[in-house]
């Protein structure tokens, strides 16, 4: 389960057509258009898989295209230090069960 977390101390400005995000500790500004903003808004309480599904449902696009678009936004935000990738939690219940057995 892949999760991205928004950095603290960000300032957001909703200008209608765009959302500005300002990381004032580092002097970085990003401008999100409508679809990028959708991804941003979905990040709270959602893992990436869920975000992709929501994006696909909202924009009516194929899940693979949605995945490309969502990761494009996430990768750029991560590169700019606006979000951080949390450790991937692999579901390994069966493996652990087998080891115990």
């Amino acid at each position: 389960m892949e999760v991205f977390v928004k950095k603290e101390k960000l300032k957001c400005r909703d200008l209608g057509s765009v959302l500005l995000i300002y990381d004032y500790a580092n002097g970085v500004v990003v401008e999100l258009n409508e679809s990028a903003r959708f991804v941003w808004d979905c990040l709270d309480n959602s893992n990436v898989k869920d975000v992709i599904q929501k994006f696909s449902d909202h924009y009516g696009v194929d899940i693979n295209i949605a995945s490309e678009d969502v990761y494009s936004v996430l990768n750029e935000l991560e590169a700019k230090g606006i979000i951080n990738r949390k450790a991937v939690l692999k579901q390994c219940t069966n493996l652990i069960t087998n080891l115990i057995m």
């Binding site: 101390k9 300032k11 400005r13 200008l15 765009v18 500005l20 300002y22 004032y24 401008e31």
Partner: protein, 305 residues
Amino acid sequence: MENELSLDEIKDLLEQLYFMGVMQLDITGGEPLLRPDLEAILHTIREMGFVVTLLTNGTLLDGNVTGILSSMDIKFVQIPLEGMPENHEFVRGGGTFDRCVDSIRLLKRANIPVQVRTTVSKRSLNDLENLAQLLVGLNVDSLLLAEFIPVGRGMAWEKDFFLNKEEKTMFKETYVRIKAMFPELAVQGGPYGYLEGHKGFKEAGEFKKSFMCGLVRGDWCQIMPDGTVTPCDLIIFHAGNVRTQSMREIWRESPVFRAFRGFDAEKLKGSCGDCGYKYICGGCRALAFLYNGDFYAEDPVCMKV
């Protein structure tokens, strides 16, 4: 200053800046705390959600202003210390060193980030290490070391303050040493001399865009108390006035701003033209104009060592 913008004019200006997408305001002067309606201005800025830095001489801070600042998104409050007490008070006046230190303590008690700015001169150069140690003890967050530049009244002090080549080298060595000795203090130097490895320069170089000048970068300008808009805080170039034009119009259409934004490093002359850093530094165009009458002349106070 005469003819300062009124509170209503400032509120109107803030609204314009808000919808232009301006995210951060640097409040400076003169001395901003001399303004009797500063608290009202800060309240408005807070309500509108700007990020703020406050640059003050550090002698007028009190609990009221600190209380407001602590409730805002404040990047830092900048207080000047021009060296240890003797050298600081030679520049800033008797009794000001302790008042600045008291202000720093007041801000830190309120958990407000503090940046100390020191003008590096012939006088203050040997104070820097002791000063850095003092600041660590005060839990100051960052130290900005800015070389003395002879402009305005400073032109009369060039001989006493301006670093020669050997002193610039000494400054660079001191800067590197202080950074290593006090890692908990974010030391920032006049970037001219420290081009290698400076993150901002490296990134600017990728786009062949000057890192030095806010307006050449396209992300900064100054608005004077009387509404004059200028691209530079060293020299006032009259790009327009918010009393007669909208800020958006000035930002987009001013011939002064266009001249800066149209800066072409290929046209640089003299030592700037021959310099390997001309794309990412380009020198100070305002000083080139002031001293040589030519926007593309070499920077007379090039700080590269």
